[in-house]
């Protein structure tokens, strides 16, 4: 009886492992599908406002906005109360969505090809891709830092364009604003709300 139960449990365990694996999304496939979603939106003949609304939806599904927000705050996040963190997160989310969608809405049908991926550790994989050249500019290398702690729901945490990290740039920009205000994070929050 006990032996039978053990066999049943083992089968269920192995099955559940396979099921778990089958549901995990490979980071490179995730990036390609995200790019395809954005391209499809940008190639549609809709108004700029409609494009922006769709791009915001894609960002909410695929980007770890909260994580990027706290990363951008650097060491200043350690000094914030929970209430202040909540206020900052909300302001950052709105700023990020407005900035992200207005940046992309100007492009028409960008062609991005995913080339390879490199797993850094259990939590991060870097996916390498190339934005195809146009008449006006050369090809651009874009690396995507994908947060894979939950393999079923990978999330974008950073874009590294020709070796330059956007998250890092934002972190240093925010630090500059806070330092200019003698460490007052409220000044940054005010700037984010006004953006």
């Amino acid at each position: 009886m006990f032996k039978k139960l053990l066999i049943c449990c083992s089968i269920i365990f192995i099955y559940s492992l396979n099921f778990y694996k089958a549901n995990s999304i490979e980071p490179d496939i995730f990036v390609q599908s995200t790019v395809n979603r954005a391209s499809s939106t940008l190639s549609k003949e809709n108004t700029k406002d409609e494009r922006i609304a769709e791009l915001k939806k894609i960002a909410l599904d695929t980007v770890d906005i909260k994580g990027i927000g706290f990363y951008s705050l650097g060491s200043h996040r350690k000094t914030l109360s929970d209430e202040k963190k909540k206020e900052y997160s909300e302001a950052f989310k709105n700023y990020f969505l407005n900035s992200f969608s207005s940046r992309l809405a100007e492009y028409s049908n960008p062609v991005i090809e995913v080339n390879s991926k490199e797993k850094i550790n259990e939590n991060y994989t870097i996916v390498s891709s190339t934005l195809a050249a146009t008449e006006k500019r050369p090809a651009i290398k874009i690396d995507w830092r994908i947060y894979t702690k939950n393999p079923d729901k990978p999330l974008i945490r950073d874009l590294i364009i020709e070796g330059l990290s956007l998250a890092r740039t934002q972190k240093e920009e925010f630090n500059s604003i806070i330092q200019s205000a003698n460490g007052d994070v409220d000044v940054l929050i005010k700037n984010l709300k006004e953006f």
Binding site: G67, Y71, R103, I120, R137, G163, L164, S165, I177
Partner: protein
């Protein structure tokens, strides 16, 4: 002239070797990390940045937009030619950094493209197996030798720099740039001073024209544009010193780990 240049090269090599002996990769990474570079003259830098912005709006951007009207093959030819000229600074720096293979490839590229490629207008060398390498300069060589960047600087017209990179640029004027030597400083029999300054200006316009949208986008979406440009410049220099166009900046970052532990 050759004697002066030889003295500079030997002095730099000696400095390089001493610095290699005393530095390791981790220390180099730390020294060049953008967050560790002090903005000692921030007030002055911001004022110069604002001046450069105005100059860009009045002169460089309109010229870059006009330049973009030229047919693509013409712009590619100009760009190739300017890139070919930059090999004259890249090759000695390949040697200073001990990268003799790249020095050989770049020398081959320069000879082939200057002759068969008609003064560098056509990148013939690429088609015969001399693939294009990253540009190198004296600031990068000093950085690779372990010299820290010093304070961040914004130079009038020339833009972002550091004390180390500015010193590196001065080496060009002291004999380190053969193009400067034959056009401005010494043997000016075949070239005029204006050839040098036109080539430098053209390189700036070519760079600006390739990045019009990227600059506009960055400016439009930045809350503090000065801080964004500073961060991008320092990240770029760091990756150029380490010759790693990859994820080096983003990988060595404990902040990401702290976030996920919460």
């Amino acid at each position: 002239m050759i004697r002066k240049f030889a003295i500079i090269v030997i002095t730099t090599l000696a400095l390089t070797m001493n610095s290699y002996a005393g530095s390791d990769g981790e220390l180099l990474l730390k020294k060049n990390d953008p967050s560790n570079v002090k903005d000692c003259f921030e007030g002055l830098n911001r004022a110069t940045f604002a001046f450069n912005q105005s100059l860009d709006g009045l002169l460089f951007e309109p010229v870059a937009r006009a330049y973009r009207v030229l047919p693509s093959p013409v712009r590619t030819g100009f760009s190739n030619s300017l890139s070919n000229l930059s090999n004259l600074v890249t090759i000695p720096n390949n040697i200073l950094q001990g990268d003799f293979k790249s020095a050989g490839v770049n020398s081959g590229r320069f000879v082939v493209n200057t002759t068969v490629g008609i003064l560098g207008l056509f990148d013939v060398a690429e088609n015969i197996g001399f693939s294009k390498n990253e540009k190198e300069d004296y600031g990068q060589s000093l950085g690779a030798a372990g010299v820290g960047p010093g304070c961040y600087l914004v130079l009038p017209v020339l833009g972002p720099s550091t004390v180390r990179d500015t010193a590196g640029s001065i080496v060009n004027l002291l004999g380190g740039d053969p193009w400067y030597n034959v056009s401005v400083k010494n043997d000016t029999r075949y070239f005029n001073e204006s050839d040098y300054y036109i080539s430098r200006g053209a390189a700036g316009i070519d760079f600006r024209a390739k990045n019009i949208e990227a600059f506009d986008n960055l400016e439009e979406n930045a809350i503090d544009f000065y801080a964004s440009v500073k961060s991008l410049y320092l990240q770029d220099r760091k990756q150029k010193i380490f010759n790693s166009k990859g994820v080096i900046n983003a990988m060595d970052d404990s902040d990401w780990e702290e976030i996920e532990n919460k």
